[in-house]
């Protein structure tokens, strides 16, 4: 028996519910022996498949490291957590849930700021006016740095935010934020507005394929069977396109 195909699925929250529902809809039964505390499970009818229950950001990391073959996680986490993500992970298909936009938002009271160009100008003049750099609160360090660099903005500081990012500007901890939003209602409740060109990424949950994992033929076959069973448009084609990109260094 060869090494098992490892599929990582979210261990908690809405992503878990939606993923399990998707698997069920495809007639795939995830068995979790030993109840909800167990971190490894199986897929009924597949001898060589192992299910790993991980947090969504752990799934992104494990896919990038090649320790799991397939995983369900958000594109935002893949792009934030994994360096050089496009060479390590292929997004086979969006799954239609877990939607979240990563956006740049500023106080509504900043009536003079509506675009990244405005923010660039404010950042450039900030130190002279306030004796410090403009501060952006976020937990998306990498996405923020890349996006700001793509707009030529260098003169700002990131303030690490470990929760309730949207409250940082009113509390005086930061001037603006980069955070995820689904409906925008949390931003509005905190008197923040999204910049016109401030959408960094429109993210949703994806079936992601590790390009760094070992992919012996039995694993490919099993992955093909499972993916074909899932009722998601284009997902089998997505896997087919991903597999030839796998690095066969080992």
């Amino acid at each position: 028996m060869s090494d098992p195909l490892v599929i990582a699925i979210p261990s908690k929250g809405r992503l878990q519910e939606k993923t399990e529902a998707l698997f069920q809809a495809g007639g795939l039964v995830v068995e979790k022996p030993g109840g909800s505390r167990n971190y490894r499970g199986r897929l009924s009818g597949f001898d060589d498949v192992e299910i790993a229950f991980l947090s969504a950001s752990e799934i992104a990391r494990e896919l990038g490291a090649g320790r799991v073959h397939l995983g369900v996680t958000g594109e935002d986490l893949v792009r934030e957590t994994v360096p050089d993500a496009d060479r390590r992970i292929a997004l086979a298909a969006p799954l239609g849930f877990g939607r979240a936009d990563v956006v740049v938002a500023v106080p509504v009271a900043w009536i003079d700021v509506s675009s990244m160009e405005d923010l660039d100008d404010v950042a450039a003049g900030y130190r002279a006016a306030h004796g410090r750099r403009l501060r952006i609160a976020t937990k998306y360090w990498n996405l923020t740095e890349r996006f700001f660099a793509s707009h030529g903005i260098a003169l700002y500081r990131i303030v690490e935010s470990l929760g309730a990012t949207e409250g940082a500007p009113a509390a005086g901890l930061a001037d603006a934020i980069v955070d995820i939003t689904t409906t925008g209602s949390t931003l509005r409740a905190n008197h923040l507005k999204i910049l016109e060109d401030g959408v960094i990424l429109r993210s949703e949950a994806n079936l992601a394929v590790s390009l760094r994992a070992a992919w012996p033929q039995p694993a490919r076959t099993a992955a093909g069977r499972i993916v074909t069973a899932l009722p998601v448009a284009g997902i089998a084609g997505g896997l087919e396109r991903a597999l030839p990109r796998i690095e066969t260094a080992s």
């Binding site: 009536i111 130190r127 410090r132 700002y156 500081r157 005086g172």
Partner: protein, 373 residues
């Protein structure tokens, strides 16, 4: 290439010592904050960051200027000169992430023209002492460019934008093109009462509205942008949306950025340029002439060229910038400049003039190696 032992002094210890420098043996690891505060968050992508035992963030020094300035601040002394040699560390797509540099910083000197000239001359002497031949020096002047923007009476927002494009030709071209085309897009995504106050040109009323909004939405007073600042910039932007960079001014800027002269004639040519454009640049041009004369006493001026567009985008550079190339390669073997605003950013109670340079030993050393290209 093996690094030279730090403690024993570097290859140029004697030359720098004669120039009055104290030799510094600085740590490799430094708190990351001063680097990010001075150069902005963007530099984080190019430096190596690590953590101390209690979570404090350090970086491997990406250059020596900020460590030397911090040393000077901590020492709390008056004017001083420093020299160093050691590895610096930068993440880059190609090439080794560490390289050997030696350099010199003069902090607190009062005579800008003399300090500029002696520092530039010392860099040229240092490079020559390391065996480089066929030296060519390029110089630029950030102070002169900033003065030009002021003399052209450009709006603050435009000045800021052009200043932070200075020395990055592609960005400068894009920004000039952007300012030259009619803008037309007034910011319409604001409430009607704000727009009414703005249309009435009532700055005070607009400021009051913004202040009430900030207070009503629970913003901590005194922690960020003020109502006056927001209202002021809104009115400025509104005015700018109806205008664009005058073609005549655009031509002046483009002509200035394309200027290139041997240093010996640059002063006269720049004076003629200012007169033609009807601009008063007397102050900065007097400094330029004094500096050029002081340089001519020390360095053969036929090796030095001034370029109007040569500069650096970082806002702590304020005056002279220069770089030196040697025969056989266009990659600079030394670079330096005046950074009168850096000490202040690092916490000095008042601005401190400073200038310095670094020499790329990796491009000079080890005949047959990279330096021999």
């Amino acid at each position: 290439m093996p690094p030279a032992p730090d403690k024993a002094g570097g290859r140029l210890a004697r030359l720098f010592g004669e120039a009055g420098a104290t030799w510094l043996d600085l740590p490799v690891l430094h708190p990351v904050d001063p680097f990010l505060e001075a150069a902005g968050e963007d530099i984080r992508r190019r430096i190596f960051v690590t953590e101390g035992a209690s979570g404090e963030r350090f970086c491997l020094r990406p250059d020596f200027t900020i460590p030397v300035c911090r040393h000077h601040l901590a020492a709390g002394s008056g004017p001083a000169r420093y020299a160093y040699e050691g590895l610096v560390f930068r993440r880059q797509a190609a090439g080794a992430p560490e390289r050997l540099e030696t350099g010199f910083e003069a902090i607190g000197g009062a005579d800008e023209a003399e300090d500029d000239a002696s520092t530039l001359a010392l860099a040229a002497d240092g490079v020559a002492a390391l065996g480089a031949t066929g030296l060519a020096v390029s110089i630029g002047d950030i102070g002169l460019f900033t003065a030009l923007l002021s003399a052209l009476n450009l709006p603050d927002a435009w000045r800021r934008r052009l200043r932070r494009s200075f020395g990055v030709p592609a960005l400068m071209a894009a920004n000039l093109a952007r300012l030259a085309e009619p803008n037309g897009s007034e910011n319409t995504a604001v409430d009607e009462e704000f727009a009414d106050a703005a249309r009435a040109g009532d700055a005070k009323a607009l400021e009051t509205l913004v202040a009430e909004t900030l207070a009503g939405q629970g913003y901590m007073p005194g922690t960020g942008r003020t109502a006056a600042e927001i209202a002021g910039r809104y009115l400025d932007q509104r005015a700018l949306s109806e205008t664009h960079l005058d073609p005549a001014i655009l031509r002046v800027l483009e002509a200035y950025l394309a200027l290139e002269y041997p240093l010996a004639e640059a002063g006269d040519r720049l004076a003629a340029f200012a007169a033609d454009a009807g601009l008063d640049l007397a102050g900065p041009l007097a400094l330029f002439a004094a500096r050029a004369a002081a340089i001519a006493e020390r360095v053969p001026t036929d090796t030095i060229r001034f370029a109007g567009g040569f500069g650096r985008p970082l806002d702590y550079y304020t005056g002279l910038v220069f770089q030196i190339t040697a025969a056989g390669s266009d990659d600079p073997v030394a670079g330096g400049g005046r950074y009168d605003r850096l000490m202040d950013m690092l916490g000095a109670p008042s601005p401190v003039p400073a200038i310095g340079f670094a020499i790329r030993l990796d491009r000079l050393d080890g005949g047959g190696g990279e330096g021999a290209r």
